[in-house]
């Protein structure tokens, strides 16, 4: 493949409940340190959530923060951090050739809920409904706020893909680079979902909201006593470039995007289909021209719902039989489910394995569910790998949307 068709990751900016930089995040993952809190929630007393603590005023004026959305602030923070991380000479970049592709699970619930609450204080008179509601709730909002903050005049939009959105944003960015629509893609996912009681209430009604007396033990994928999802906020956005451009500017290349696939279960709104997930993985492997046995790390999607984890493990067992060098881990056990950011953040959690050959574990597994057994599932303690150079990142979502992304350590 020619360099102009090879897509590489040159920078990453992130905020997770347990880290605001890649190095801080990595350090906490290897140390087994999650960060889940109990927070007050309108109509629900308290809920468990992953909360980010990045400085919103680092890159935004206070008025921007006030007028914009949490998702926008997360997006701006991640983008600025990614550009710095990539060493891009931003002042001299042609901003019309930069595209912004931000995966979201949902957007707008937060603002609409807030405004309904607001007018409830005024006898539901709609003249008290804010004029900021519509710019805050249009579906392109987080991506649009990024362009306004950075003066990006190329294309921007969000990719709505339920909890597969983080991968979907990266895939969209890679595709737009391959089509030569842009020279730099800002791509990944964000989530502000912890600001919305409706997200929590919906999972609660579905019997899929986690509860545990110790917040940091609430998110426990694959454990026999798992009882649902911990909702989190966060974001991870990458700078993607064509290899030819990255080489030209002497960029440090963090990884190469070599395979991806998205498909649909076409079956059930909430229950995943292992067969379609396996197909999605196989198609991504086919695109990357890799046998399953070449994958070193499978970053699982498992959200700690009783059925979802079992279904994913079934799909994984179908693909990864006789793969002694393939290890499986999970990042939601530390940070909860960051929804639209999940796929992108979970990829970031594993990216450093290319350099340190460590595989962070799935934590909070006191008693492994026999139906979630996988050979080489990394439990509770990090594992030392050897020559880790292929990561496969699963990310699935409601309405049967599946996404798989494969990144490889860059070799010339």
């Amino acid at each position: 493949m020619e360099d102009k068709d090879r897509i590489v990751i040159t920078g990453v900016g992130l905020t997770a409940p347990n880290g605001n930089t890649l190095s801080e995040y990595r350090e906490h993952l290897l140390a087994g340190q999650g960060n889940i809190q109990r927070i007050p929630m309108r109509y629900m007393n308290e809920v468990l959530a992953g909360v980010c603590n990045f400085d919103t005023n680092k890159y935004q004026k206070r008025k921007e923060v006030r007028n914009g959305t949490r998702a926008g602030s997360i997006g701006i923070y991640c983008t600025r951090e990614a550009i710095t991380n990539a060493g891009i000479d931003w002042e001299n970049v042609d901003k019309s050739r930069v595209g912004v592709y931000v995966g979201i699970t949902e957007h707008g619930n937060v603002e609409t809920e807030n405004e309904v609450h607001n007018i409830s204080q005024f006898n539901y008179e709609t003249k008290y409904w804010t004029h900021h509601h519509n710019p805050r709730t249009v579906a392109n909002n987080p991506a649009g706020e990024i362009t306004m903050n950075l003066g990006i005049t190329g294309p921007h939009y969000t990719v709505g893909a339920a909890c597969a959105a983080g991968n979907a944003g990266i895939i969209q960015g890679a595709q737009m680079l391959r089509l030569n629509e842009v020279d730099i893609a800002i791509a990944g996912g964000v989530s502000e979902s912890i600001q919305s009681f409706g997200i929590f209430a919906g999972f609660k009604s579905q019997g899929a909201l986690a509860e545990h007396e110790n917040p940091n033990q609430a998110s426990r994928p694959f454990d026999s006593s798992r009882n649902g999802i911990v909702v989190s906020e966060g974001g991870a956005l990458y700078t993607l470039e064509r290899l030819s451009d990255a080489k030209k500017r002497g960029a440090e290349i963090l990884a190469e995007v070599t395979g991806y696939c998205m498909n649909s279960d076409a079956k059930d709104a909430v229950l995943p289909d292992p067969q379609r997930q396996a197909e999605c993985i196989n198609k991504a492997l086919s695109m990357a021209k890799l046998p399953a046995s070449r994958v070193n790390i499978v970053s699982t999607h498992a959200t700690a719902t009783p059925m979802g984890d079992i279904q994913e493990c079934q799909g994984l067992r179908n693909v990864f039989q006789n793969c002694p060098n393939t290890f499986f881990n999970n990042t939601k056990s530390y940070i909860g489910h960051a929804m639209g950011a999940a796929g992108a953040l979970e990829l970031a959690g594993n990216l450093s394995s290319f350099n340190d050959n460590q595989i962070h574990p799935t934590i909070n597994v006191d008693k492994l569910d026999p139906e979630c057994e996988l050979d080489n599932l990394v439990l509770n303690q990090p594992r030392e790998g050897s020559n880790i150079d292929v990561i496969l990142n699963n990310s699935f979502g409601m309405l049967g949307i599946n996404s798989v992304l494969i990144v490889q350590k860059y070799t010339a």
Binding site: K61, R62, K63, R66, N67, F122, K127, Y128, T130, H131, H132
Partner: protein, 88 residues
């Protein structure tokens, strides 16, 4: 309540909606938009805060009457008096 009190109320509202601005040098006879980074959405915020906090309505045709602190004082003072707003 005086017109000066009304100007202070408006300036406080501007302080909330434009927290990055230095309001200590604002000249009451000059257009607010010429002195501060305020856009049309910010003026809608001023109108909304007057409505929410003081029950004062500013019809769209009268938005131009809010262009300076002096014009705010002139225009809004009778409305505040009519509402009988008491200063805390």
């Amino acid at each position: 309540m005086t017109k000066e009190d009304v100007k202070k109320i408006v300036l406080n509202i501007i302080g909330e909606i434009a927290p990055d601005e230095d309001l200590t040098q604002v000249k009451s006879g000059l257009r607010l938009r010429d002195q501060l980074e305020l856009d049309s959405m910010d003026f809608l915020d001023i109108v909304m805060e007057l409505r929410k906090k003081y029950g004062i309505e500013v019809p769209e045709d009268d938005y131009s009457r809010l262009e300076s602190l002096d014009s705010c004082g002139e225009y809004l003072h009778p409305k505040f008096m009519q509402k009988g707003v008491a200063l805390a």
